[in-house]
């Protein structure tokens, strides 16, 4: 269950560790990724989540599974350069140390994108749960643990891929056209990977966490995932795919960090 949160607003950037610390003291910091579902705007009818979309469709969801294959933090732009420049300005690291550190960090941490056709190199903070989440439940689930070494992270990046069963999302239910009482059943799934990059919001202090340990909570709002969709126009595979995108677009993030000092 979610631990209590004593709030204290930090800067807009997500700070793991402390950028002011001497670089040699940068130690791995624990990061936990949690997911939960918020059914605000829906009511429960005999196990079915029922809600109305912004276009006036009434939707009843009997099941909704969604897979997360990886989740990770994205370092802020130029973080490494800023750290090294700051160290050199303060004389806290000589050139040899900086060069050595640069080598270590760049070998552990993600490469930046090349100008054109490069692959994405995962950050060391990546966790690869490869799990489905059952979204009808409102329980909070731990979806991965990792370490985070960079001084500043700005975004959360997740990939929702296929896994072994070639399914990314699967949902079953019914909908009613605006103004209609007829329930049109649907059963839809899709095998197409989707991704999401989302800026991290202002965070909070959390005394329940170990020093510098952090947690990110992803809250999904399935009742908003159908907004903007003209459901009767979508083949099942497009329905499942568009709802997946809607689920990512409408999700919200919270993060907190343990106290900076013991």
């Amino acid at each position: 269950m979610r631990r209590g949160r004593r709030s204290g607003w930090l800067s807009a950037a997500f700070v793991v560790g402390c950028a002011a610390l001497p670089l040699p003291e940068l130690a791995p910091n624990q990061i936990e990724y949690w997911v939960e579902t918020d059914w605000e705007g829906a009511h429960l009818e005999e196990g079915v989540r029922v809600f109305t979309t912004d276009l006036g469709y009434v939707v009843g969801l009997e099941s909704f599974w969604f897979r997360t294959t990886s989740v990770e933090l994205v370092p802020c732009e130029d973080t490494l350069e800023e750290e090294l420049e700051e160290e050199q300005e303060h004389g806290q690291a000589n050139d040899a140390i900086s060069q050595g550190l640069r080598t270590v960090i760049t070998s552990l941490l993600p490469g930046r994108a090349y100008a054109h056709g490069s692959a994405y190199d995962h950050d060391i903070s990546v966790s690869e749960p490869e799990d489905f989440d059952e979204l009808l439940s409102e329980e909070l689930h731990l979806r991965g643990q990792s370490i985070a070494l960079r001084a500043r992270y700005c975004e959360l990046f997740s990939v929702h891929g296929t896994g072994r069963d070639q399914t990314v999302a699967s949902l079953r239910g019914w909908y009613q056209l605006p103004g209609s009482d007829e329930r049109i059943p649907f059963e839809a799934e899709h095998p197409l990977g989707v991704t999401d990059v989302r800026p991290l919001p202002v965070g909070a202090w959390n005394d329940a966490l170990l020093p510098f340990a952090s947690e990110v909570i992803v809250t999904r709002h399935p009742a908003r995932a159908f907004d903007g969709l003209e459901l009767e126009t979508l083949p099942p595979v497009d329905l499942a795919y568009e709802v997946s995108l809607g689920l990512l677009r409408s999700r919200s993030l919270h993060w907190s960090i343990g106290p900076a000092e013991e």
Binding site: A119, G193, P235
Partner: protein, 522 residues
């Protein structure tokens, strides 16, 4: 080195254009309808275009040549930067049959806003645009290079509004056949490619000369701009860069990526092998300095009766099955999916090779590339001074399993380690015939791993038509290029003289993310 008279020093200016695009638009919108009705041009080559039908009332009426508003498509802001000899107020609506055919082919994006893409003003949710205007010689297809969906390639880069104008000759003109040209048969450098591939060394530039590349400082290039098979002189395409404008306005790029991640190889193998890599999506699209297509998926480009996109991304993506796209089971003709820079259209793979007097198609065939996968290891050479290309070294490397039949990647790389082979369906030679087969193949150096197989008769196999070196063919309606599911995927050279867009390197050296003035994603 060959001098280049339009070597595309426009990328620096491109950034400026982005930042002042709104101001430029306001200043450039007022167009004079100059009433130049001399729009005809000498059609030297069959363009492969069916002009839209006009009824008598259309012909009697004064054609409306007043240009439409151009303030909703950022591509126009780049017109005079890319083509200094043209101004926006010198262009008109297209009225020639060739120009009208281009106009009619373009996607109608009206009312579409794509969440997850970055608009010209930096806001979330862009409206794709593709518009065309003409002068006497060219059609100018302006676009912001966005498809009708948000490409789900891993977010290495934003999918951002990025201006481009494709200059398409209204009448294809032949290449001067006396032009100096490299030879397809005498290509050097594939042994060097193999040498680097064996040890997974990243090249600094293409080691071969099938295609055109020049370093940013102009100090090195891949030879001449033209290439010949001994019978015809063609113009090379970019080794990495635009080869055609699709009906969405998104550019088709050369069959290869650049030096990374698969050196001068197709990103299709990797993306097809592991859909979760999300490097290029299954419509063949991925964002970069400019969003572009590495291959064509007709279903993604299908239009409804209003010219609007007929299918969502998921329907299109799940239809991209290489084996299905090679079946000799065409039931209807493929539509135009783009326009090459020499003026010929690009179509999907079902081509009409003969028509009856009433215009109905009497010989509908599946187009197959003329290229087969022949292996990068075939460039091994025991006499070479290169350290890694002797047959023993090559055989001992993962290339020892190249071209093996396979069911999955485990058959190709059973021991793990350095093994850059995928199990991928593609065309291979099988005795005297060509067949589609799952083989262990490397994605690297596509030009060297594939070989062109000349067919005495392009129609020799029932239900199929084999394409030429440029991935085109003379159909019942003229010459067309084809978007194929196997190499080279798009046009691989220009049969006729291309416009300047073919060699413009604006987007090759443009920093990724510059399109929207935003930094790249990591």
């Amino acid at each position: 080195m060959e001098n280049d008279d339009f070597s595309g020093e426009t990328y620096g200016a491109l950034h400026d254009v982005f930042w002042c695009s709104l101001a430029c638009l306001l200043a450039a919108i007022l167009l004079a309808a100059c009433g130049d009705d001399d729009m005809g041009s000498d059609a030297a080559v069959d363009s492969g275009v069916d002009a839209p039908e006009q009824d008598a009332s259309d012909l009697d009426a004064d054609p409306d040549t007043s240009p439409p508003s151009t303030d909703n498509c950022s591509g126009w802001t780049l017109l005079e930067t890319m083509y200094p000899d043209v101004s926006l107020d010198s262009l008109q609506r297209c009225t020639s049959p060739e120009g009208l055919a281009i106009e009619e082919s373009l996607m109608n994006f009206e009312g579409i806003v794509v969440a997850g893409t970055i608009a010209a003003d930096g806001s979330d949710g862009a409206t794709p645009c593709v518009e065309v205007l003409c002068d006497a010689d060219y059609a100018y297809i302006a676009s912001n290079a966005l498809p009708h969906y948000s490409p789900q390639a891993a977010p290495i880069f934003e999918t951002a509004d990025t201006p481009i104008v494709h200059r398409i000759p209204l009448s294809p003109a032949p290449i001067d056949q006396s032009t100096a040209a490299d030879s397809f048969e005498g290509i050097n450098g594939c042994d060097s490619a193999l040498n680097m591939a064996v040890t997974h060394e990243t090249p600094t530039m293409p080691p071969f000369s099938h295609c055109w590349y020049e370093t940013e400082d102009g100090s090195a290039n891949t030879g001449l701009h033209h290439i010949t098979d001994g019978e015809h002189v063609y113009t090379k395409i970019h080794c990495y860069g635009q080869t055609a404008g699709l009906i969405t306005g998104v550019p088709a790029f050369a069959p290869c990526e650049e030096a990374r991640p698969d050196p001068y190889g197709s990103p299709l193998f990797w993306s097809y092998a592991d859909p979760d890599t999300l490097f290029v999506d299954y419509c063949g699209t991925h964002p970069a300095a400019i969003t572009h297509n590495h291959w064509i998926n007709e279903v993604c480009l299908e239009q409804d009766e209003n010219g609007a996109p007929a299918n969502g991304y998921a329907t299109g993506a799940t239809a991209f099955v290489v084996e299905d796209l090679d079946e000799a089971d065409c039931e209807s003709e493929s539509d135009i999916v783009g326009w090459s820079y020499d003026g010929h259209p690009m179509r999907g793979t079902c081509l009409c090779m003969a028509r009856a007097d009433d215009g109905s198609c009497t010989d509908l065939r599946r187009a197959r590339s003329g290229y087969v996968y022949a292996g990068l290891a075939r460039w091994s050479d025991d006499e070479s001074e290169l350290p890694n290309v002797d047959s023993a070294t090559v055989s001992a490397s993962y290339f020892g399993r190249e071209l093996m039949e396979c069911e999955d990647a485990g058959d190709c790389c059973p021991d793990g380690g350095l093994c850059r082979l995928h199990c991928h369906p593609l065309l291979v030679e099988d005795g005297d015939s060509v067949t589609l087969s799952n083989r262990c193949v490397t994605p690297d150096y596509s030009w060297c791993s594939h070989a062109f197989r000349d067919h005495d008769d392009a129609l020799e196999d029932s239900g199929y038509v084999y394409l030429d070196r440029c991935n085109g063919v003379e159909t019942a309606d003229g010459y067309v290029y084809v978007g194929t599911p196997t190499f080279p995927y798009v046009n691989s050279c220009f049969r006729d003289a291309p416009s300047e867009t073919a060699r413009d390197n604006t987007y090759i050296y443009l920093e990724a993310g510059g399109g929207g003035g935003r930094p790249p994603r990591p």
